[in-house]
Symmetry: C2
Subunit: 384 residues, 2 copies
DNA sequence: CTGTTAGCGCATTCAC
DNA sequence: GTGAATGCGCTAACAG
């Protein structure tokens, strides 16, 4: 059986096709009596507008494209996941669809965007994981393709360029709050475990820790540096880095060397004097790093060292790590608002004032009672 | 500037617009000379067929719908993620697109499917996470909507019904291999940590362990039961369950009780006699469970107990757990093949022989050298 | 307010 | 082989 069309509805409702279309698209201009009659007919037939036809006519796809990362950064992958979910849900509420595509490199992503664009499949794009000198945004602006990024245009002088819409989470603020919370608990030597610089996101997050430590304790550059460790974003890497810090008795950037000589030997030495470890607490740039730190400190007998991660991944919840949560619902909502405008129904090249073209969203610190491996009571189960 | 259309190409190539269409869709029937001329024009103009128009004309969307789970099972969430990526990539290669939607319940999912279907937005659906008495598949079959599931129709008498296309990973085989591998290493008392029954996937996986243990050691029901522990799929839950097993000196289904009384007290007792723990190794139904077990055994001083998880998530890689990997590329490829047929271009209600309507894919055991927390050398970094 | 006319870009008939 | 019609389902313009 064929799907009913406007024509069928019109016949049943005793009106012209066009009136049916009006009832659908601008109900206000149709007289109430006929409108209800048409709506009754629509309900009776179970009519749904054919979106391919509508799109062809309107020259719009009402579809947003988003790239699925090939291998999202390990444990933190769940972030893009949750963002995608929020985005899909909110887009649906606005009558938009989310179309996926994949690409291994930025260049390939640009090529895919071009394809989707030229086939008129996608009206606008949502980009994630912006980075220094990102070629994608430049290209999109040059080609007048509407887009919004989840992530600031790191490294660009003018982050307020209204041509580049962006939404981001205020990592600085989140880490600041986390650090303050530790200081309020009485910790003084609060360390930072971050990514190698330069890293837009990473440096922003670290600045929150720096600000808090300076503000509360009046620390200088040298003191901050002594509390700061760097590692690539992998659990073994982070573990090695923290072990290195344990061994040297301070938190310093010696991780690389120790990592090369073998962290397992290092931890054996560390076992001799864990009390000398110069930290009261640790704030990390990601849950992955935090998990590495947790493993290192637990193994060294430093069970009670408070650790705070970033992203509030399922893993953090599972092992009882406190973490800074990104409100991805708000990010998704913000992205759509910027793209569509508050009115809500025009996907086009935006024309916003500089201060309306961006959203910086405050994250939320999720405190967990045990910040070490969970040997206490089980939490309410995720039944399966 | 407007996108070029067939008309434009036709004008440039000095042919009718129909010929252009033929060059695109059935190149074979066009004379070589004109074909190359048309292709040159296409290249010159950068022409792309408008897919909305094509879809309207063909009454096909060339789009597959897939639901994004609201909260994929914790750590294992990465599985759907990777599947989605593989699916998107392979669908793209076949000229298909993946459209996302969300739904909180099966009923809501059915409603969404209906909507997408009636709006002619989606030709076929890919369902994940099938379960006992799944209402979705029944409805889809009744409404003659093409679909394929990632997961077998658990609980249905006839899993070979050719109306229900499915692809799945042979969990039994994976766990069997894992168990055999442990037995080959010399382990004899290999325990099983699984989900509460009944669970389609879980019971299937457990049967692999049972088969291996029966086959190699001739174990009876009672002996198997004594080596078998159950827990819901959460790290704290699994930890508690394993702790309970440690305390009782055997691996049994007492986890529930001990979990209620508090696992932290239990582990204190366990510390007294970890050597009495009656297991040589442990196989788990998921990485989440394996992580819980790892935490429990590590804390109890049982560092060397081999543990094997399932799913090969980033977390397993991070902490050095061996795990059974699902080849999601193959699953995705299989799903598309079943849906489209080997020919590759007809998305319709399938008409396959029973034995061609399904794919059971063999998983692969990923062995890692340390199956405890990674305090050895860092592995090659995931640079960021 | 309602109905009529005219395409959106394409592919499937058919003629030639 | 190639070209000329026709219509997929819808809505923007206009006419009434």
């Amino acid at each position: 059986m064929r799907q009913p069309t406007v024509e069928d509805v019109a016949r049943i409702a005793q009106v012209s096709r066009q009136t049916v279309s009006n009832v659908l698209n601008s109900p206000a201009i149709v007289k109430l009596a006929t409108r209800t009659r048409v709506q009754a007919a629509i309900a009776e037939l179970g009519y749904r507008p054919n979106l391919s036809a509508r799109r062809l006519r309107q020259q719009k796809s009402a579809t947003l494209g988003i790239r699925l990362d090939p291998m999202m950064n390990g444990i933190s992958g769940a972030v893009l996941d949750r963002f995608l979910h929020a985005l899909t849900e909110q887009a649906d509420a606005r009558g938009l669809r989310i179309l996926l595509f994949t690409a291994a490199t930025p260049e390939e992503e640009i090529e895919q965007i071009r394809r989707l664009r030229e086939a008129a499949e996608v009206d606008a794009f949502v980009l994630t994981a912006t980075f220094h000198e990102d070629p994608r945004t430049e290209w999109l602006i040059a080609n007048r393709i509407p887009f919004v990024t989840f992530g600031r245009p790191w490294g660009i002088d003018d982050m307020t360029d209204p041509q580049h819409l962006w939404v981001d989470v205020d990592g600085r603020q989140g880490v600041y709050d986390a650090t303050i919370s530790l200081l309020d608990q009485g910790a003084r030597r609060v360390g930072w475990l971050g990514w190698p610089r330069p890293s837009g996101t990473g440096d922003d997050r670290r600045s929150g820790w720096e600000d808090a430590m300076r503000e509360r304790l009046g620390l200088g550059e040298a003191e901050l540096r002594a509390l700061c460790t760097e590692s690539h974003d992998g659990v073994p890497q982070a573990t090695a880095a923290v072990v290195a810090a344990l061994v040297t008795g301070r938190s310093a950037a010696l991780a690389g060397n120790v990592a090369k000589t073998g962290a397992s030997a290092a931890v054996a030495e560390a076992g001799e004097g864990p009390d000398d470890f110069g930290l009261d607490a640790l704030v990390c740039a990601s849950d992955t790093l935090a998990l590495g730190a947790l493993i290192a400190t637990s193994s060294a007998g430093l069970r009670d060292l408070p650790i705070i991660g970033f992203d509030d991944t399922p893993v953090a919840a599972a092992v009882g790590l406190s973490s800074v949560m990104q409100p991805l619902d708000e990010v998704a909502a913000g992205a759509l608002e910027l793209l569509l405008g508050p009115t809500g129904n025009t996907v086009g090249v935006p024309n916003l004032a500089p201060n309306e073209a961006h959203r910086l969203i405050a994250p939320r610190l999720v405190k967990r009672r045990s910040n070490h491996l969970p040997l206490s009571e089980p939490s309410p189960s995720l039944t399966r």
